[in-house]
Every structure is written in C-alpha cells, then in structure tokens.
C-alpha cells in the first residue's frame, strides 16, 4: 500500500470515529446548555445503545430496522429516569455535588449493565454486510458510510430543531440565560427533560452505529464518553457545528496518531488534546473568550 493510500485510509476511518465523537459531544453540549451540568453519564448512554441493540437482535431475532429504534427508546427511558431521579431532585446544588452525582449515576448504570449482561464483548453485524469497498485506495466498510449518513441526518435534524421549532428556540433561550428564559414563560424544567431525552437518544444512536466496527461491552462508555466531551470542548460547548468540527478533528488526529506514531498511545492522544485545549483555549477553538461574572 502506498503512503498516500494509507493516509486516505487513516483520514476516512478518522472521520468516521470523529463523526461518532461529534454525536456524543453534541449530547454533552445540549445538556450543558440547558442545565450547566456536564453529564458524566453521557458515555453510558452510548454503551446502552449498543448493548440493547445486540441483545434485541441476538435474543429476540428482531430485524435491525426494528431493533435500533427500540434500543434508542429504551436508552431514552434510562435518560429520563436519570433526569427524574438524580438531577431534578437537586435544588441549587454546587457544581462539585453535580459532578459527583453524575459520576455516581454513571458507575451505577455501568454496574447494572454488568449485572444485566456480562463482562464479555459483543459483536453486532454491519447494517449492510461486512464486504469492504475501495474508495480512493482506502478500503472502507459499508458501516463507515452508514456512520457518515446517519451523522449528517442527525446534525441536519438538530439544526432544524434548534433553529425553527418553538421547543428548540426555547432550549436555546435557556442556554443563554435560564432565569430570563423562565421569566418569559419558558418551562425550564421541561426543557431540561427535553435535553436529557435528545442527548440520550443521540448518544445511543452513536453507540449503535459504531458497534459493528468496534464491538461493545458494558465498559465502553467511559472512554468514548470522554472523547465525546473532548469534541465538545474543542467546539466550545456549542450544540452546533463547532462540536461537529471538534469531533472530526479529534477523530482524524487520533487515527493519524495511531497509524503513524503508536497505536498503544492512541487513547492518550485524545486526552493530551483535551488538556491542551483546556489549558490554552478553554472557550474552544472557534469562539472568543467570555468574561465570567461573579
């Protein structure tokens, strides 16, 4: 294989994982904008999406076309329960206790998943078979194309939702100023619930479309979750294109790093980028700095 072919290969597979990070990052950003909370349990929604799909297909023999929506709904139910039981009862909690609560929720979900399923890794067949296709010298799985297509559709839909629907605009109002939003009659608590529904659905979808490529198990959530967070940080916590670009950038850098430097340190690349961005440009790569009011 020529070096240029290799590079295209890394680029394509990087873009595919990057699209996944973007979806997860959007989930982080949507909850953060509605509530000011970084939901440490976001990665667990990704894990639940994949695991529910595997179980539904393997045990009940459902067609993937039915199993996938069912898995998304099941994960969303978990997201709603999490919001109702752990987030809503808290009034005026400090950021520290919110961090601890969502971490508690995340390891609780992971632990229950381990009990409910097992510690094994599970494979999911590709949606359109596992025959590689060759594009510009790079060999891609059909699943890569699914990932690109699904991500584009989801991002388009969320763009329409946030720009043109009343609920979407209300959620954006909450992200600017929660008090002002409630003063003009927006039901902030409902918007928080919406945020959890949307981001758990997005997270589970990401977990489902990546599962055929990477396998899934009860503990995949933490790593992929933090990488999604990293995408959102690069994008400055925007629930739009910033985070998408952040995800793609991270995916490509990671894939190039793994291919050209060392695959053992692949995961470390994302965390080094995360730290660098937080140290140097905590407001994200594409945003101007804001001053903090005290």
């Amino acid at each position: 294989m020529q070096i240029s072919d290799q590079l295209t290969q890394y680029l394509f597979s990087g873009l595919a994982t990057g699209a996944i990070y973007a979806l997860i990052g959007l989930g982080f950003a949507i909850i953060y904008n509605a509530t000011g909370i970084i939901n440490f349990a976001q990665g667990e929604f990704v894990m639940l999406g994949g695991m529910f799909t595997v179980t539904l297909i393997n045990t009940t023999g459902l067609h993937p076309g039915v199993a996938v929506p069912c898995a998304i709904i099941l994960t969303t139910v978990v997201g709603i329960l999490f919001e109702r039981l752990a987030i809503r009862p808290l009034k005026s909690a400090t950021p520290l206790s919110l961090v601890i609560i969502t971490i508690g929720g995340s390891i609780l979900i992971r632990g229950i998943a381990m009990l409910f399923w097992d510690k094994d890794t599970h494979a999911l067949p590709g949606f359109s078979g596992d025959e590689p296709i060759t594009i510009y010298g790079a060999s891609l799985m059909p699943q890569h194309l699914w990932i690109f297509a699904v991500t584009i559709v989801v991002i388009g839909m969320s763009k329409i939702f946030f720009s043109y629907t009343i609920s979407g605009k209300a959620m954006r109002a909450c992200s600017y100023n929660i008090r002002a939003a409630s003063l003009i009659g927006i039901d902030v608590r409902r918007m928080v619930l919406f945020a959890f529904i949307i981001s758990s659905a997005m997270g589970s979808l990401a977990g489902i479309i990546i599962a055929p490529l990477t396998m899934t198990s009860y503990d995949v959530g933490i790593m992929i979750g933090i990488k999604g967070f990293c995408a959102a940080i690069i994008g400055g916590m925007s629930s739009g294109f910033g985070t998408v670009l952040g995800g793609l950038l991270l995916g490509v850098l990671e894939s190039l790093g793994a291919g050209l430097v060392s695959s053992g340190y692949k995961d470390a690349i994302a965390f080094v980028i995360l730290l660098l961005i937080l140290f140097i440009r905590p407001q994200g790569l594409f945003k101007k700095a804001e001053t903090e009011r005290v």
Binding site: P95, V99, S106, I112, I233, S262, D267, A268, L274, L278
Partner: protein, 318 residues
C-alpha cells in the same frame, strides 16, 4: 486545640492496641490497606474538602509514587528510603507544574481535566512496558529496611504504615486549623472573596495540589514496598472514584471523616466477598445518596440529622 490533641491520642492508642486484639494475620493485612487508603483519602480531602478543588486523577499520583519507587529500587538498585523521598519530591514537583494550568479550571472542567490526566498516567503505566512491565505488572520490589529490621511481615508493615498514616493525620489536622486551612476554606466558599481578602488563591491551590499529590506518592511507595508487586489495575479510574467515595462518606473537610470513610470502604468489600464485582454499584449508590441526603458526610451529617429531629420535639413540648 486540646480537643484535637485528645482525638489524635485516642486514635494513636487504638492503632497501637488493635493488632494485639486481632490474632489473625489476615485482619492485620486488611488494616494495612486501611492505613494506605486513609493516607490517600486524607490527601484528597485536603484538596477536595478544604480547597474545594476536585481531582478525579489521584489514583494516578498514587501509581506514579508506586512505579517510581519500584523502578528506582528494583531496576536501578537505589535504597528504598531514598527512592521514596525522590518519588515524593518528583511527583510533588510534577503536580506543582501541572497545577498552575489545571487549577485555573473550575467545576466540571476541572473534573474532566483531572480525569484525563489520571487516564494518561494509566495509559503510560500500561504502555511503557520496558519501564513498568506493562499490564502484567512489576514484581520483585524489595521491602523497606531500618538497620537490621526488614519490614517483611504483616505486623511490622502495620506499624510502619500506620506510623506514616498517623503523621499524615496529625499534619493535616494541624494544617486545617492553621492560617492556611482557614484561607483554603475561604477559597472553597468564594475564591473571589478570598482573593479580595488578600489570599493568594492561585498559589495556595497549586501548593495544596502538590502536597496532596506528594502524600499520595508516599502512599504509593509504601504500597509498592509492602506488596512487592504492583500492576496498572490498582491505579485506574475506578480507584480514583473509590477515593472520592471515601472522602464523601467521611465528609468533605473532615480529616477523621476520611479515616472513617477509608475504613468503611476497605472493610466493606472484605465483608461482602461475594459481591466482589458489584462493589462499584454500591459506590455509585453511596455517592448519589450521600450527596443528596447527607452532603456533610457521616461525621458531620449524622449529628446534623439528629439536630434537625430534636428541635421538632422541643416545639411540641413548648
């Protein structure tokens, strides 16, 4: 101050007589872990409970101390005591350097950054195979020695580790009641207000971060020399969470609370051997319930709960 001294003396006497009550060497072994965990929980509490800065990467500093000691003594044949001091100084300096950029972050961002830091250390422990032995671990670490005494059995190690633990507790209690302790609590409540009052918040946070990391590194060295074998799994994200849980159970800002938290979380898995894999679920439940209903931890929270019940009785009487 007299009360603090009395509390410490009671603890010291308890520590001294406990092994004579426990004839079985197995329980002494568990208590060794209680000691190491207490050092770590107290160190984390200085940062989390007093300065109000979260760290989800403290298992990484613990691991750095352990690996530094292991590599210096086993690979390079350096005296374990010198290795321990070198490891503690190096880890403190590292934390001091990282502290400036990382502690500029607040709340969730700080949590994610320290989490990332911890995972980077964990990946290095796993991947730097020539240095650390990788996932299969590092064995053959020598025991500590003073003159002709080698710390090679549970009872001797118990004495050694609890000596370090007691010193850590004493120093931390002193620190908490000093000017620095008050300044840290001021930062916890409002960093801006603390700075207005003339506290150099930024430097103080970094110093306490370095101190906390240094104590964790010493605990790591002690762990390595006591066990003789270390592997990356002891220093992962789950252990960082376990440490946070210990601090939360005992109560933020309560030194003796951390001791109780470390005791409970070390004894609990031993008592519930059959729940081996499920302990992480129990930690999750503890974290959520404690934060929701007993945010002050056991030591402060239970008297608080009782106090809340009592005025109600009085009102009925009146």
């Amino acid at each position: 101050m007299k009360r603090e001294l009395l509390k410490f003396l009671i603890l010291a006497i308890l520590v001294a007589i406990l092994p004579t009550l426990l004839s079985g060497s197995y329980l002494v072994n568990v208590l060794i872990f209680v000691g190491i965990h207490t050092m770590l929980a107290v160190a984390l509490n200085l940062l989390l409970g007093f300065a109000g800065q979260i760290s989800l990467g403290h298992a990484g500093f613990f691991g750095l101390g352990a690996y530094a000691s292991a590599i210096l003594t086993t690979t390079y044949g350096i005296n374990p005591w010198i290795a321990m001091v070198a490891a503690a100084v190096a880890v403190s300096l590292l934390a001091f350097a990282i502290g400036f950029p990382i502690l500029k972050l607040k709340g969730h961002y700080l949590a994610m950054a320290t989490l990332g830091l911890g995972i980077i250390f964990f990946i290095v422990f796993n991947e730097a195979v020539e240095l650390t032995g990788g996932p299969s671990g590092f064995s053959g670490i020598p025991n500590l020695k003073i003159g002709s005494i080698t710390f090679d059995n549970d009872l001797k190690n118990y004495g050694l580790i609890w000596l370090f633990t007691l010193v850590t507790v004493l120093l931390s209690v002193n620190l908490a009641n000093s000017r620095i302790g008050r300044a840290l609590r001021a930062i916890h409540d409002s960093e801006v207000a603390a700075r207005v009052m003339g506290v150099n918040a930024r430097l103080l946070k970094v110093q306490i971060f370095a101190l906390s990391a240094g104590i964790s590194a010493i605990a790591g060295s002690l762990y390595a020399h006591t066990m003789g074998f270390i592997s990356p799994t002891s220093f992962g994200f789950n252990f960082s969470i376990e440490l946070i849980t210990m601090v939360i159970i005992g109560g933020l800002g309560s030194i003796y609370g951390s001791l109780i938290g470390a005791f409970i979380l070390t004894i609990l898995p031993e008592a519930l051997r059959t729940f081996q894999d499920y302990d992480i679920i129990i930690y999750g439940i503890i974290l959520i319930l404690m934060t929701m209903f007993l945010p002050g931890g056991l030591v402060r929270g239970i008297p608080g709960l009782l106090a809340r019940l009592r005025p109600a009785d009085k009102q009925e009487e009146g």
